[in-house]
Symmetry: D3
Subunit: 271 residues, 6 copies
């Protein structure tokens, strides 16, 4: 069995945990246990982190959650936002736990199924930062472009018909005008739409939260079966625990704002 | 269950199939069936494909094997050479079958565990082409360098002590002088050495044949569970079957030079 | 006198040899002898190699032809397809013979006559691979774009008026909308159209088969007069002949499917 | 008069404020008022932020300080760490206040005085991230390399002779072996050494805290005299104030852990 | 006090000196003295240098003027053309004088106020060269594009309404269609329009002659207060004076075609 | 017959014309006429142009010579310095005449004979600029490095044994330590040494003045036989002749400082 934590870097009260618990139950391997979590109240009542400063405000919370998950013995952690928020920071303090995130995971899959892909995002505002991430991951020459649908993070699940029709229109634009051969949905809140877009457009459409969950599971299995754990050399060096203790804010307060356990046997329980 | 073909793009008589069957049995998931194959005699008595022209000579054989594997219903295929020989060509004719290869698979893992990795190869001769592959995959800025140990493909398994000591020396150079944080063994014939190098140097060391097998399995599971299959749009378009029939050499002769089946239940049988 | 082989990497029966023999006769220097050849039947009845897998299937044939040409004492070889199919593989086994190909040759000329050029191709399907080639050659910043005219390789010579009007429209788009300052016709089967497009659009238009022939002749003269032959060092090392003999498929069967000799004195004879 | 805040993103108790107040008094223009600040206790007792996770932990504090400085009417803010920690996040919430940081400011100056520069850092651990920053700023081709002196942030001011001799040795290596034409000291705690290194090596040596202060002053003057303020369009859009209020943690607690005012008339007072 | 020379690399008779003297008086710091100059008659009657060959013809004049300014003790020199004509050449012979130019200065400012900017130029003809400059400066990923308004250098000041409306239209295109977050006016003769464009489009609009003047002043102050002068190491080495004397054309004839002095006290006098 | 001008952009009195006339006679095709020229006295007594400012001072002379050569009906012009000085400027005013230069010509040849080449230069001072040129030409990934031999331009021909032994040592370093597969001599004054270096090191060694002459001849033949002339569109637009006349310095004074004619029939006469 491998144990994975799926962390939405927003407040528990945002109420997304159920969505991702359903996703985890539907897509994980039988032997995988998934805990779906989100951030505690103290970090702030974030319903989304569309702004860089919002990401910056929740970063401490992500770091605390990462440390807590590592201490609990999780094999892998997903930071559930397509900005891959605080991925480098979390990896530094994850010990032997694998950390992954939706943008990295989705691009890997899209790059293995096509030579060129487009990313459908909510607002143009996101593009500059996400594009830099896709470039840094190494997919500059595979990127057809970003396509925004004028919906904020919290609007994707509000009116499903509107969301579906906008995703389809954007995907069609990517495929027909910019020659994309695959698509990535560029927000974890676009969950639930990929199969329909795929069916209508006839190209692979990657859902980022599923991709991240599966990548975490893959990483966890590689760790368990091949022994491949995070490097701790040079830039991957972890800070000394005594220094962390002296600083004093790394482990303050609760690490999570909620938790739904999707058991290896596929059951599910909330805390 | 998912079914994976591991194809060594050299002649069956090279006798590597056993090595990779052992590897597959040790590292696959329980529900995975692996067929370890190599090329038929007609392609040529290739014991290695260190030269570009050798790769070119076996490419038709890889294409034929890919088509045969797809027809047999395999979920994924590994082309077992660190040059990722004919990966693009094979992907074009793989139908719904996933195709992957060691260099792509290894770099993905190394990039998820470190910020900078080195690749240990046999001869300097290989570097120009492999470096171009690593760059094209998107890992230019993560590449510490290539380190050659003055051993040809067929020499890695000849004298294990010599191989181990050279891999260690090269790995140490990568880590200490060029600040590599992880290592990749840049030849599938380096199989069997990664754990020892990892233990001695204290950084993740990726074995490319294991990495490719696991990536194939991961891709097969993504296909089965999420429906993510190869794109067939634009540059991914497959050639029409009637044209292939007219051309007449795509399916000539036997597709494989041997086959060892590592069953899902971990058994193993030869043909 | 220098001797050049112009090899169309398709079946002789495709019947293009006459076209390229006419071209050679019209454009070569008086002291140059050109043999126009194509692949033997055994490679497959390829009329075009628009697919990556088609290229992969003919690669062994190109390698065999290269070796045969080198043995015959040719000074230079052209691989007559704008994909520059198997250029690296052929160069490895060419001995002292120069090998060149249309895309490389055309880009060099366009780059010397303008700061920015566009490439007119048949189908969008080709672009991903050709663009990667143009980038790898070093012309990324000079590339205005690729412009497809919805014609397959075998259609260019079918209806000359249709081809001419589509090339013109695509070229105009490149020049007027994307500010191309020169054009390259991105398929050797576009032969015969460059002068008219050039006349109408007022920018240099490079024909790729002429460019490749002339680049081969230039390379042959540099070899003859300056002694500049292919490097055989490091990644340019040729495989040992005894190993090739042991493998046994390098020199199987006929190397060419036809041959038209355009003599130095401009005569012409078929075999 | 322009007003600049110089913020050390570490705890006030780290005791660096005096160093930077002296620097500010020595290098600012007469009409400039500088407030030297650091982070409040609640952020954690950080004496340095050498680790990515340390940066992540102080990011919320930097965002709060930025908002507070903007509300107080500062013209420009310096985030005083060579990682340029949270620069993008701070810029988003700075309103009309300019935000700058040492790495960006130093590279601009070095690039205007030379064609190639090296950066002298404390530990190899820093390089991966700082190099990515220098590349992203656009100086990839001007970078001779990074040179580490095996000193942590807090050690630079501990033994001045040791620090001076190591900076000199590293600088000499950069200039003599890698052909650097200018140097940047890659840590604000290297303050006080640039003039001596410059004198001994005969190339410009940029101190990053002075560079950042002067760049802030320059930006403040450009804003005052030319009206050039931060863009708020597209990716530069600021989050809505009502949403920030609803979230509730943006303005919690004290924004600063200390403050030394270096008055426009050069006086100086502590709080 | 710092002394700056603003050199228009065109003939004095072009009559632009007054425009730039007004600009200097309006934007310089009180303690700065600016001499506005242009080239002497002997260089040629250049009213603009829109062509590369025009730039080439005035380069000797720029070099002579640079040497003369350095001898007169100027702290900094502006070469007042958005091509940044002869910047590298002038920097080589400037001794301890700082040399800057509009494109470099403008991009620095735009990059500090936004993540993505567009450049509004006169004619499409300019773009190839200016784009290469912006790329070389390091702003490739920040460049939204170039937008031409079909006006030559000498036409910008001819009909102010026409110029204003075209700049606005081009700027709107950059912001609305290509998501520019800031704009740069890509010709020093666009002087006088930035404030209005800024007001109407709501994004920062950088005037290149002001930017260059202010960057020169900033560089001069850094030199005076921090001691940061041009490197003279490796590629920055200046030619030996005795060799220059032997060559004999470096200091021929008058260095300037006119001079307006904008005194530190803001007064102004012509010669 | 084609007519080529080989222009050394230094003073005639530097006395290099004989060297290049010998080279031209030895390497041109029989039907080619070559005029070897240099700059007139008025440009300055330049014996070399190792400094950027020296190049800048002779640029007007190169432009004048280009115009004169075009008027005389030359088919192609070589600017005989490895800096490829003023290539873009000269191309703009060359009318239908082809213009080329040693660095561009040499890299094309080296790239066609190897995958990786090194450049042997005189002084480290040259590297920054030449490297930028090689990168801009598109050979960044093929460049093994630059190797300087501590000789100025005028010293290469002073002591042939010293030059030969230094070129050999540098070439050996490039090949053995940095894995160069071909070499380029990075100064036209290294003429006469390539064959010996090639013989001793066993890799192709490109002489830049021969390369440039042959490339000019190749370009001239392409123009004559295929009609491929310089583009005059967009950034390649030539300045209007009436404007040039009005400016008045384009055609001042003699265009050349000397001329040796190497006739098509291989004869040779001086003026």
């Amino acid at each position: 069995m491998v144990k994975i934590m799926y962390l939405s870097p927003v407040a528990h009260r945002a109420g997304h945990d159920d969505l991702f618990a359903d996703m985890a139950r539907d897509y994980k391997l039988p032997g995988t246990e998934v805990h779906v979590t989100s951030l505690p109240e103290g970090v702030g009542r974030f319903e989304h982190i569309e702004y860089r400063s919002f990401e910056g405000m929740v970063t401490a919370g992500i770091i605390r959650a990462t440390r807590a998950a590592a201490r609990e013995g999780f094999d892998a952690l997903v930071i559930g936002c397509f900005y891959d928020t605080a991925l480098a920071e979390a990896r530094e303090v994850s010990g032997e736990m694998i950390v992954t995130a939706p943008c990295a995971a989705s691009c890997e899959i899209a790059a293995s199924l096509s030579n060129r892909f487009g990313v459908i995002v909510g607002r143009r505002k996101w593009v500059d930062q996400m594009q830099a991430t896709v470039h840094a991951l190494g997919h500059r020459d595979r990127l057809a472009g970003f396509y925004h649908v004028e919906l904020g993070v919290t609007e994707f699940q509000a009116d499903h018909d509107r969301t579906a029709s906008r995703l389809l229109a954007a995907g069609r634009r990517a495929v027909e005008e910019d020659y994309a051969e695959a698509l990535i949905l560029g927000c974890t809140m676009e969950v639930g739409f990929y199969a329909e877009v795929e069916r209508q457009l006839g190209v692979p459409v990657i859902d980022p939260s599923i991709a991240a969950l599966k990548r975490a599971e893959y990483g966890a299995l590689l760790k368990r079966d091949c022994g491949w754990k995070p490097s701790r050399k040079w830039s991957c060096e972890a800070p000394p625990e005594d220094e962390i203790a002296r600083i004093g804010t790394f482990d303050d307060g609760p690490a999570f704002g909620g938790r739904i356990v999707v058991a290896a046997e596929d059951g599910r329980s909330s805390t």
